[in-house]
Amino acid sequence: MKRFVRFACLALVGVVALAGVALAAKDPKDVHVALVVKDLTNRFFVEMKWGGESAGKQHGIRVTVLAPEKYAVDNQIRIMEDLIQKKVDAIVIVPIDGAGIVSGIERANKARIPVFNLNTLATGGEVIGFAGIDHVQLGRIQGQWGVDTLKGKGNLVILEGTTGASSAIERQQGVTETLKKAPGIKVLASTTAKYNRQQAMKVMEDLLTRFPEIDMVLCANDAMALGAKEAIKDARRKMMVVGIDAIPEALEAIQKGEMAGTVDSNGFDQGFVAVDLTAKYLLKDQKPPKDTLVGSGMATVITKENALAFDKSKTEKFKKFGIKVD
């Protein structure tokens, strides 16, 4: 055992000595960008992954997409630490929590690995740029649409995202802003279902028995909307359910008339833009703008009328980048 340890130490020293001279390559083939998203068990982030990979293909650079197996910011920090050791050329991070991720970004800064911040704004550390969708705006679109369709009066239930997650807070903020201007609308309950379909279904079941009169349910993402809509179907009640993210399943539900609408948060473009800007920064030293706002694929709520068209355009885009959609 002892003998082994001594050997190992020698070997370590040797390797470190060799590793001393690292040379920065400009050849795209050797450029390696890592995209760390929140969670890969959710279609929205899967599309963000596709976007990132497509941008990578365009520039001919290598892109690895990682995510923690547990929805906890510490696990993202762990991944970043490993990537730092791996000496990737840049990290694109989609923080589970904007504040929690800071120590991870700082570690990357210390190792002089450029970090690009995507989708959820990090509250500290140095990043070469931020790209993302304006979650508050998404909330506003959803809320405003609700106000308009309810003609300023009715009973409303809100399913929030994972409590404390900044995206959830911002989307909620957008919704409440618009609702303030519509005193006629009564918010019966506003509670979290953790962005999760199963959770949403259970919570909705209880809310349905608690409130005999509900006109509309606003959900901070489509997964929850889909869960809620099933609970409503089972309770043989009718009400409008609106989500955010515009994942294919939601679009189908809308066409079937089971969901009233959803707001596109354009995961693909977000992923694409982020990796694209990072690649340009690495290959052509183009400093990315401080903030890049990725437009929502559609500035309004997607409803029965335009759902089909939107879905088409999206699949077109995927085809263009050679992504085969199930």
């Binding site: 370590l12 910011v73 630490e81 791996k86 979290t192």
Partner: protein
């Protein structure tokens, strides 16, 4: 010659072989894996798990189990954070109180378990729920951040060029190891795990001892919670959920028997290193998340098998079981 090979086999038992094997493979697949800085990195990442697992080791040596540690860690970090943010306490003081709370949780576990004679699963699992709930309630399910960075020294600090977590873990390991092997209480721990009745009849205060061990496990969970806070610089109740099972896995894979009375903290360290190295290596190689899970599961099984019946025997057994042979007669 034979004796030499025997020596080698004993030295390179189960998990160590697997560890070396993994290091070899990962080094081939990822140029930067086998480097000093990454070693330090792995140590940093392993430190939190190591501390919880040390506490868990004591409990498992008593043939017990502590399911509450994950939630208790969360509670500690949330309490500490809240005290720093709301009560503006000095970080050190806040941390001390946080750890105190954790120890208290452990104490309750111990009391309920040893004085009511309940299966340890139950009080500790109940405590899991209550600690998690309490943490969620005081943080209102939010992520707490923006408190003085004093505590971060614990994780990011260096001393004589050595990372603080390494020193911390090493120190704790040294103390606990000597405690187990060379103090009356250490021997008592093995005695109780080996044969509780006998220990009692030898005049050891079994209930008291058990209670204290559970309290200690809580305490260690608390310390780990503080280190976790120092590491992520943010406190959230649910972030540490899962450490209860991770820690048990680390202890068992290291070679401490769930039946109690056999094993120790040094074995646990091996188990922890194995898990940390695996997770780090998989990221270094860039294996996608989905397959990572599969690998983790497989390696855990392999590590245990090689530890407890040489892989050899395992395969022979497997062959025997599969292609009906003498021992499978039970199926006849």
């Amino acid at each position: 010659m034979v004796r030499l090979t025997a020596k080698l086999r004993s030295a390179f038992s189960g998990p160590i072989i697997i560890c070396l094997g993994m290091i070899g493979v990962f080094s081939l697949l990822s140029e930067n894996f086998f480097s000093l800085s990454n070693a330090v990195n792995i140590i940093r990442q392993a430190s939190v798990l190591a501390l919880v697992a040390f506490g868990q080791t004591f409990v498992i040596l008593l043939a017990g189990i502590d399911l509450s540690v994950g939630a208790v860690m969360g509670l500690t970090s949330c309490v500490t954070a809240t005290l720093m943010l709301k009560a503006h306490l000095a970080p050190v003081l806040a941390a001390a109180i946080g750890v105190g709370v954790a120890a208290l949780c452990g104490l309750v576990n111990g009391l309920v378990h040893s004085f009511l004679g309940l299966n340890p699963f139950i009080p500790t699992f109940g405590m899991w729920g209550m600690a998690l709930g309490a943490a969620l309630i005081i943080t209102e399910e939010r992520v707490l951040t923006g408190f003085p960075a004093t505590l971060r020294v614990l994780h990011d600090g260096e001393f004589l060029g050595l990372p603080a977590p390494l020193l911390l873990v090493a120190a704790v390991l040294l103390v606990l190891h000597t405690f187990l092997k060379a103090t009356p209480h250490g021997i008592a721990t093995y005695a109780i795990g080996g044969n509780e009745g006998a220990a009692h009849l030898s005049g050891i205060r079994v209930r008291l001892h058990k209670t204290l061990v559970y309290a200690f496990s809580g305490f260690m969970a608390g310390v780990a919670g503080v280190l976790f806070l120092a590491r992520s610089n943010a406190a959230q109740a649910i972030d540490t959920i899962g450490y209860e099972f991770d820690s048990i896995a680390a202890v068992v894979v290291g070679g401490t028997s769930l039946m109690g009375g056999k094993g120790g903290v040094s074995q646990t360290l091996i188990g922890v290193t194995l898990i940390a190295t695996l997770r780090n290596g998989l990221n270094m190689v860039g294996v996608n998340l989905y397959l990572q899970l599969v690998f983790i599961g497989v390696v855990l099984i392999l590590a245990y098998v090689t530890e407890n019946q040489s892989l050899f025997h395992f395969l022979r057994e497997l062959k025997r079981r599969l292609f009906g042979a003498p021992t499978s007669a039970e199926e006849a």
